[in-house]
Symmetry: C2
Subunit: 232 residues, 2 copies
């Protein structure tokens, strides 16, 4: 179901491209802190101390606190785009590719909830230039999903009235997983990925839905909504 590598960090994000080591530790600490308390509520002192360094050390590797957010956001969006591209461009019917795209995108949001929260919800905290750059990536994300839905609609595989609106809803559904997913909850990222892929295929009117998905039934309550972090 998942490789050892994927399970290695609860976050399945490698961050290997960030060097040197101290810079990566600071970035990781910032992801955690931003996800828990939000960008504006996080202090540079908090980030530095999570990384086991003095407050001033941060400024050797990053010009400002915002640069940290920018780097996290770009790397995260690139990873999200890569996941969707891989699913969109594999072989198979539009149904198979859409199910793959949704389930892997959802798994990423659930498993890497910490990163995904920062990536998806702190966009407004970026300055205008950085935000424009990230928005360009988001447009590509949108285009990948829209592409699959368009193909399915064109071939008659799907039954969709409003392609752009449906695309928006599908992405919205996946992204919001980062808000409510609880690591201690009753569902695994894989289960949610499967459930969501089935729901999305129904949304686009795919001819044959997820056939015998089974097993998803009757597994107790989920804690409503409880937006999760804070604990520490």
């Amino acid at each position: 179901m998942s490789t050892a590598e994927e399970r290695a960090d609860s976050d399945l994000q490698s961050w290997a491209e960030v060097t040197p080591d101290a810079a990566r530790r600071l970035l990781l600490a910032a992801v955690e802190a931003f996800a828990e308390r939000g960008y504006h509520a996080t202090t540079t002192r908090d980030i530095a101390s999570r990384a086991g360094m003095s407050p001033a050390a941060l400024y050797i590797h990053y010009k400002t606190k915002e640069e940290l957010l920018h780097r996290i956001s770009r790397i995260g969006h690139e990873k999200a785009l890569e996941i969707l591209r891989t699913a969109a461009r594999r072989e198979g019917s539009a149904t198979e590719r859409l199910a793959d795209a949704v389930s892997s995108f959802v798994r990423w949001h659930a498993r890497g909830r910490t990163t995904a929260r920062v990536v998806q919800y702190e966009l407004d905290s970026l300055g205008p230039d950085a935000r424009a750059e990230i928005l360009a990536l988001r447009r590509q994300v949108d285009a990948e999903v829209r592409g699959i839905i368009e193909e399915g609609a064109a071939s008659g595989e799907f039954d969709v009235l409003d392609v752009q609106g449906t695309t928006l809803a599908v992405l919205s559904l996946c992204i919001d997983v980062a808000r409510w997913f609880n690591v201690d909850g009753p569902r695994t990222p894989e289960e949610i990925g499967e459930l969501y892929a089935d729901l999305v295929l129904r949304m686009v009117g795919a001819k044959k839905a997820g056939h015998g998905v089974g097993k998803a039934e009757g597994q107790g309550r989920i804690p409503v909504d409880g937006p999760g972090p804070r604990g520490r």
Copy 2:
């Protein structure tokens, strides 16, 4: 440009229950500020000046900044619950009631995006007691939607594998509207409500979907996702 009071109308939230007048103006100013910049990034000086008062005036009507957020959150959740209850308890088939619940819930999130953002995304900023109170309201919100889906599933009107998971997804889809909806975008809250009601009926496998919804087709692009505020 316009006062907080004037802009609040676009919000369809009355706030009439908040008295005296100065306390209501402060609350409205806080809603705006929290929605734009987030609770932690909003200063009491900003709230007071938006309400046309001195910084100290805030503390005549509210003990702390957090009390403002608590009041906003409780009033908002009560309104959300009222909307869903009204839809859930009217006469009609489960299909009709679910469509009504979704479309009116979505309209509230789109029209009152400012309020809804604070209500749905600033839960973590509350202290433990206040948050526990709000979470109880959220459990009731969840129960209303789950109730409709259960009835539809029991009567054979719907085809649902995982009632709780589907409930979660439906609520998630509606709530996330507050994140991406753009007042200047191409879609009206009513159009999104209709689209989403149709999508949700498909998700639960309702026998007859939204029949000839029509008109939703081909109305140009939406601006990807752009999470909006910040403008000022």
